[in-house]
Symmetry: C2
Subunit: 130 residues, 2 copies
């Protein structure tokens, strides 16, 4: 398989995966995942190993969350997405680093959930707020 | 310019840019940036417009910060980096989404700074902590 074929394969999988998660189409979510997929949350130092556990984690995740992809960058067996989540009136961004196998299935997803914070003092002369 | 030439160009710029920032080589940092570069921090809703202001922001950033690239993903005129920063004994991750111009200079950088947090209850049956 050429590198560019690999790129489009995992990109397509990730796009399908996010659309399926948003639609609660769990069969399609499952099909996007390799059996030995590892889900990693560096901020909480949590790890979920295996498709069955990770699928259940997604199914049990509370709240009526909806998502859309803001940006996607794919190269070889890696894909990064910047997603926008809403849960009711709450909004947040998620960043996910994916790796894939030769069949284009997701072998790992590492998630970051950055939260809003107040800017530190001392740089008001350089920044504008929006 | 082909897409793959564009890819390697901006990737090389971003690698040079991070190495130069780590080394406080401000001339090399400046050379990596387009004049109209925009720096964006969605978490604080801060924006810095223009190379001069953004360079100064970096130069004035407090602390003896050091960085290394954990992962880099490049496609066309987009690059994403996951970096690991240390400031003394403090450690943190940064995620940066870059776009570039035809000359391979950085036209935008959007930064996320995810912080550690305690995992919510209710998923202990699926996760392991590390």
């Amino acid at each position: 398989m050429t590198s560019s074929a690999g790129t489009s394969l995992l990109r397509r999988t990730v796009e399908t995966y996010w659309a399926a998660a948003d639609a609660r189409d769990w069969a399609a979510v499952e099909a996007a995942l390799a059996e030995d997929v590892v889900y990693d949350l560096p901020q909480t130092r949590e790890r979920i190993a295996g498709r069955a556990a990770f699928l259940r984690f997604n199914q049990e995740y509370p709240g009526d969350w909806r998502l859309r992809i803001v940006r996607i960058v794919a190269e070889g067996d890696q894909v990064v997405t910047w997603t926008h989540f809403t849960v009711g009136l709450e909004e947040m961004y998620g960043i996910a680093f994916f790796t894939g196998d030769a069949a284009g299935r997701i072998t790992s997803q590492t998630d970051f959930w950055p939260e809003s914070y107040e800017p530190p003092a001392g740089r008001e002369h350089l920044v504008e707020r929006y």
